[in-house]
Amino acid sequence: MAPMLTIEGLSVFYGRRAILENLSVPALTGGSVTALIGPNGAGKTTLLRALAGLVPAAGSIRLDDVELTRLTIAGHARFVTYMPQALPQRVALTVFEATLSALMSSREGGLSAGGLSSGEAQARALRTLERLGIGDLAMRGLDELSGGQRQLASLAQSIVREPTVLLLDEPTSALDIHHQMRVMQLVEELARERAIIVVIVLHDIAQAARFARRIVVLEQGRIAADGSPGEAITPETLARVYRVEARVEHCARGFLQVIVDRAV
């Protein structure tokens, strides 16, 4: 059965300022991609980090029967992987080593990544790189790669862990169009294939509409819209949340297109 992630009454504070306040999201189901969109400072990254257990949060985040907020950081990592927006630094590690470290570091911490031997971990790391189309970068150092290539390496580190919940914070921001499409296709495939929950923060609304089955629009820590692309992305929502005058049209293939006319 596909896993379900339910968020109830989630609040996150930075100091006294509430970034997310009493946020509830009806169950996200495994098998398809959920896109999280919203203007700058809406709390998208904070929500992802709260789901990943990286910021202290009040409220409830339930994965099936497991209350994630009660787990330790290591417990969290068994179910959830978070890919930060920041690109990995230019360090003297190869793409392959970086991917391998995503598996080996938690093995060493006492919790096995599925009882993986080092040979299995290597094979799995390599399969992941090939699937992302960067098998040829495996032995190149992160300090000699372009920003886009490092972003792909970063994505490889996240998906190699084969989590139940995959959280991606703007995974395509540094990529050319070909790689943007490739990454989004792969993420959608993974969601279907492994029946996992994928939550992805995107700035490109059309891309979100193209690949996500569900779109959650966040505004100032609250949910402004939630539903299928057609339900969540409307000229009214865009006007209210993004303060733009926009048209939402269907292209010849039936995908949503957003044409922004001007800021209001």
Binding site: A52, L54, V91, L93, E97, M104, S105, E108, G109, E130
Partner: protein, 351 residues
């Protein structure tokens, strides 16, 4: 697709790279041993290299003065160089990773300055500790302050929301604070005490004894296995703190125990030999150039490089000015810096 598939090529290439790194570690180890032998063989009284070797292997076969020179002077001195080099290099390597800063080292973040302040208290103001033998009073003071300075960093790291940049800035602030305090004590010090203090802070191996060696060896033996055990976690940390935490690594815990190891290693070294500024910063950089940042190789390579450099510096300190023994802290910087700059500028041609 042309050529072999990536899968067919990558795993053997990775295996090959691992073998090459093992070879580099062995090479560094051999370099260190050769440097150590030369260090033992160098000194004002001329002992040929094979006399030294037979003297070490078979002490009974040596005449009285020769035995004293080798076993009571040269060996503790040379072994101290190796141990201090390895300890400071490991401390520096861990700090650079944990604080995500290539400029981090026990010297740049206040450990040495704090030790100098402790030494100044003992030397100039005559402060003494109960139950500590007279000969250990000075190192004990230096140790307490060096250890305390890292504990201060530690306490700051424990506060919620402290980023690594804050820690580094705080460490730099410690350097200036302790330097100012040392200057203040120097200002009121008697001429004799001042001389002793200045000499102490230059860093010298001549204070080595078998007991001190034993203490430092024990500290290194206790901390190194834990550092190596954390090596994959540290490798993952290089790719970002959030990312590492998302792999299930408790970064706060990793940082706490790492800084604890650093404080023990650095404080013990500095307490025994004084300020040696260069090793902890540079040995990790050399190791990184040689073996990359897979910490399973990076940490041991740092230690071996640190030990080898320190040993070579010790040889140089005895031979640069004939008949004089320069403080080794001066030599490490004078010889090491040009060497290091050369490495950095040739780095672009590396594989």
């Amino acid at each position: 697709m042309t050529g072999p598939s990536p899968r067919a090529a990558t795993l053997p290439a990775y295996a090959h790279r691992l073998r090459r790194r093992v070879a580099i570690l062995l090479g560094l180890g051999a370099l260190m041993l050769v440097a150590l032998l030369f260090d033992i063989a160098t000194g004002p009284s001329n002992l040929p290299l094979n006399d030294v070797i037979t003297g070490i292997l078979n002490p009974a076969g040596l005449d009285g003065p020769g035995r004293v020179i080798i076993w009571d002077v040269r060996l503790p001195y040379a072994l101290m160089a190796v141990l201090v080099g390895a300890a400071l290099a490991l401390a520096g390597a861990e700090m650079q990773t944990i604080l995500n800063n290539p400029l981090a080292s026990p010297f740049t973040l206040g450990v040495s300055s704090a030790a100098s302040f402790g030494a100044a208290l003992a030397l100039v103001l005559g402060a003494s500790l109960p139950f500590v033998p007279a000969g250990w009073n000075l190192p004990a003071f230096a140790f307490i302050f060096a250890f305390g300075s890292v504990l201060l960093l530690q306490a700051l790291a424990g506060l919620r929301g402290t980023g690594v940049e804050t820690l580094v800035l705080f460490g730099i602030a410690l350097v200036f604070t302790f330097n100012a305090l040392v200057a203040l004590i120097q200002f009121v010090a008697s001429q004799e005490a001042l001389q002793q203090l200045v000499f102490w802070s230059m860093g010298s191996l001549s204070r080595a004894t078998w007991q001190k060696l034993g203490v430092l060896a024990l500290v290194a033996a206790l901390t190194t296995p834990f550092a190596l055990h954390a090596s994959w976690r540290m490798t993952a940390l290089r790719l970002g703190e959030d990312r590492a935490r998302s792999f299930g690594i408790s970064v706060a815990r990793l940082r706490f125990f790492s800084l604890l190891r650093v404080s023990l290693l650095a404080a013990t070294s500095v307490a025994f030999v004084g300020t040696i500024g260069f090793i902890g910063l540079v040995a990790p950089h050399i190791a990184r150039m040689l073996v990359g940042e897979d910490h399973r190789f990076f940490l041991p390579a740092s230690m071996l490089a640190g030990a080898a450099i320190m040993s070579l510096a010790s040889v140089a300190s005895k031979t640069l000015v004939p008949g004089a023994l320069l403080p080794v802290g001066i030599v490490t910087a004078l010889i090491g810096v040009p060497f290091f700059m050369a490495l950095i500028f040739t780095r672009r041609e590396r594989l």
